[in-house]
Amino acid sequence: MPTSEDYNGQVPAWCPGCGNFQILSAIKQALVELGIEPWEVLVVSGIGQSGKLPHYIKCHTFNGLHGRTLPVATAAKLANHSLHIIAVAGDGDCYGEGGNHFLHAIRRNPNISLFVHNNQIYGLTKGQASPTTAEGTFTTIQPYGVLQESMNPLAMAISQNCSFVARGFAGDQEHLKDLMKGAIKHRGFALLDILQPCVTFNKINTFKWYRDRVYRLGDDYNPSDRMKAFEKSLEWGDKIPNGIFYKCERKIFEERVPAIREKPLARQKFSLEEVKHEIEKFY
């Protein structure tokens, strides 16, 4: 069985007090509790403060381009579906630069988890608005305040029938870890949006701001009711619900691709002998 130490990676270069530290601890804990070994998991990340995360745990890593986590993660799953694959992204990364991929990953429904570090601001580029920054927020390049309405990733995911839609809070690590475990165990594409305070650039959505507002969805909440889930996903303000909003069973992408029904693509040996008759078809 793996231990938390097995997952210790490089020393994080995040600001002291950053919400990312709790997310990092929660991931390690979730993987250890699920009994997944470091060599069984691939973390794919993009660019942003979140993109650095896989360097701080020990596992297979593909730290690619800004916004492009999901195409890489989806294809890696198609190439070797025996790997546990977690895509890690930020709000700018996944909902801005990679918005198109987000929509299409929901459609494909590969069996991967997507953890979005949603700090409602751009941290790596020092404080510009992200797609989830609240309307009216002032930044160095939004001197009149953000002029757009902020994006609601949960509502969008539910509207597209994403098979697992959840939200957690970095300040509630125990709950976050359980949501991560739920996402990893879920068969299908699992979105876990994580409210993550940015202590340096987001002076509005602080730990205290969230603590005053967040609550866990209760046992009486039924995540299989899509309409209710959509309604719940619109709740934002004095009260912010966290938990599994929506869950449904859908065929997973890898199972629908004939080539990999028997075994992972990466384990299928190539033999020229088996394909060379292809030439004959052109005579």
Binding site: G9, Q10, E37, P38, W39, E40, L42, V44, I47, K52, P54, H55, K58, C59, H60, T61, F62, N63, G64, L65, R68, L70, P71, V72, A73, T74, A75, A76, K77, L78, A79, N80, S82, L83, N100, H101, L103, H104, V257, P258, A259, I260, L265, A266, R267, Q268, F270, L272, E274, V275, K276, E278, I279, F282, Y283
Partner: protein
């Protein structure tokens, strides 16, 4: 042309009992299914050639001797009970004009229409026969062409796209992701049609950015992968190309050129992206560019592309254009004997004895061991788009940076250069006149060289492995050019991009350049005309 329904469309077929390799401007038989075709192409009919048409369809009667009026539509209605089969009648008539027999056409009709039921097949065959007989009976003079099917030779017919796709399958490619774009889509169509048989994953991505990142993800995860597109789609892939450079992920990229800029001519041809593909991607990293001259070269160079991509962990391009991609060519042989397959990816058993695997471990060649994540025992594979250390983790220090640039670029470059084959010299071995071409101009330049009197000492120098240029120790092709009186670089673009590449890499300047940028391929006639001024 991208005419899905209606409008003017045409197809040129050139055949001979001699080997041929290019298109011609002029035709011997014009098979016109409408008045429009006659008006546009009448000027392209050779002296002594014929125009087969139906005066009822054209709503016009032509009295000139080259016109042969055949009632395509009436025969189709009488024999096939449907005027839509007029084209089958016309095809039969063209074969009748040449008295080439109908067996092959019948087989094609069976193949094409079997899904629509036996009645449709039989009606089409009857229409073809009726057209054939009509032409035989009403125009006996046409036997003058005297072409006969070569006996005993089995010929294959294949497009450039099919040759690339088949080359990919036979090189162990297992994953192809792309976004549809003319003229590259045929690769994806072909691979999709073979996906079940050969266990391929073919994924239509949401855009070209996803397409290349998917191919990278699959390659990282342990399978041979490829993507393909045309210039506009490749523009979207450029950041991903640079990611390949930094992460040293093997990938083969097919770029099927069409005339730009922007949407340009979606279904026409040009060699306008050469310098774009050469320079695409921010930062400095190695790449290889192949530009095949025939489907046969496309097949073998695709195989070579997979070998080099994986051996050196670099991007390798198959650069081609609409003309080569979509034209169908016949060949006598395309054997699998010369194909190479070396699996450079390492799994648990290959890594026995390796302590503390590092994805980017420094080595004398710059090449590090390429382990398959999840299949390499407890070894971890870490890839990073940031500058990284040997393990693959982010670094900032200049010392590691310098070593990494040396590893992935400077050490690999001379080794890659050694892999590149010399250009192909055809014609006089010590030429006074040299026509230089690259990619799809191979056939037309070769045929034109054949028409030039031997005493002029002309030759073609054709490049299909265009970057990096091959070393000159085995064949000093620059010396050969320097010794010639006249060197002409012939290109299907406006600015002579290959000539620029040669000058940049070797300092050699061509004495003349011929550029064609009307979106059409060179034909034998127009290339000869262009050369006339110099010879």
């Amino acid at each position: 042309m991208s005419r899905i329904r209606g409008g003017h469309n045409f197809y040129q077929i050139r055949f001979s009992d001699q080997k041929i390799s290019a298109s011609r401007e002029m035709v011997d038989i014009l098979l016109a299914l409408g008045l429009n075709t006659i008006e546009i192409h009448r000027k392209s009919v050779n002296e002594g050639g014929f125009i087969l048409y139906d005066s009822e369809i054209a709503k016009k009667k032509f009295e000139e001797p080259e016109f042969i009026d055949i009632p395509f539509r009436k025969i189709a209605l009488d024999v096939g009970k449907n005027s839509v089969m007029a084209n089958t009648v016309a095809t039969g008539a063209a074969l009748g004009l040449l008295d080439l027999g109908l067996e092959a056409l019948k087989e094609i009709l069976r193949e094409t229409f079997s899904r629509k039921g036996e009645e449709v097949v039989q009606n089409n065959i009857a229409c073809a026969e009726a057209g054939y007989k009509y032409a035989l009976k009403n125009c006996p003079k046409c036997k003058a062409f005297g072409i006969r099917e070569p006996e005993g030779k089995r010929l294959m017919i294949i497009t450039g796209l099919q040759a690339i796709a088949m080359g990919a399958i036979m090189s162990g490619c297992k994953f192809y992701s792309a976004y549809p774009m003319s003229p590259s889509t045929g690769i994806m169509e072909y691979l999709a049609s073979r996906a079940e048989e050969y266990h391929l994953v073919v994924e239509q991505a949401e855009d070209e950015i996803a397409a290349i990142n998917m191919a990278i993800g699959a390659s990282f995860a342990g399978v041979r992968a490829m993507t393909g597109t045309s210039g506009g789609g490749f523009a979207l892939m450029v950041e991903g190309l640079s990611l390949i450079g930094m992460t040293e992920t093997p990938l083969v990229i097919a770029e099927m050129q069409r005339p730009g800029p922007a949407t340009g001519f979606p279904t026409r041809t040009e060699q306008g992206d050469l310098l774009f593909v050469l320079h695409a991607g921010h930062g400095e990293f190695p790449r290889v560019i192949f530009e095949p001259g025939t489907p046969k070269q496309a097949f073998y160079l695709t195989n070579r592309a997979f070998e080099l991509a994986e051996k050196y962990q670099i991007p390798v391009f198959i650069l081609s254009d609409q003309y080569l991609a979509e034209s169908e060519w016949t060949f006598e042989n395309l054997g699998s004997e010369k194909l190479i397959y070396n699996d450079y990816r390492l799994r648990e058993e290959d890594l026995k004895g390796v302590e503390g695997y590092k994805r980017y471990k420094f080595s004398s060649t710059g090449i590090s061991l390429l382990a398959v994540p999840g299949e390499a025992g407890k070894h971890l594979v870490v890839a990073d788009s940031d500058e990284h250390d040997e393990e693959g983790h982010i670094v900032e220090d200049s010392e590691t940076r310098i070593k990494m640039v040396q590893k992935r670029l400077l050490k690999k470059l001379p080794l890659i250069k050694k892999e590149i084959e010399a250009p192909f010299l055809y014609g006089d071995p010590s030429p006074k006149i040299v026509f230089v071409g690259h990619g799809s101009t191979y056939g037309v330049i070769k045929e034109v060289v054949d028409t030039i009197p031997k005493d002029k000492k002309a030759a073609m120098l054709h490049f299909s492995q265009i970057y990096p240029l091959s070393e000159r120790d085995r064949f000093d092709y620059i010396g050969l050019l320097e010794n010639a009186d006249l060197t002409i670089c012939i290109e299907n673009n406006a600015t002579g991009q290959f000539a620029k590449l040669i000058r940049a890499e070797t300092g050699f300047e061509f004495s003349r350049q011929i550029s064609k940028y009307d979106g059409r391929p060179f034909t034998i006639e127009n290339l000869k005309e262009e050369l006339h001024a110099y010879i």
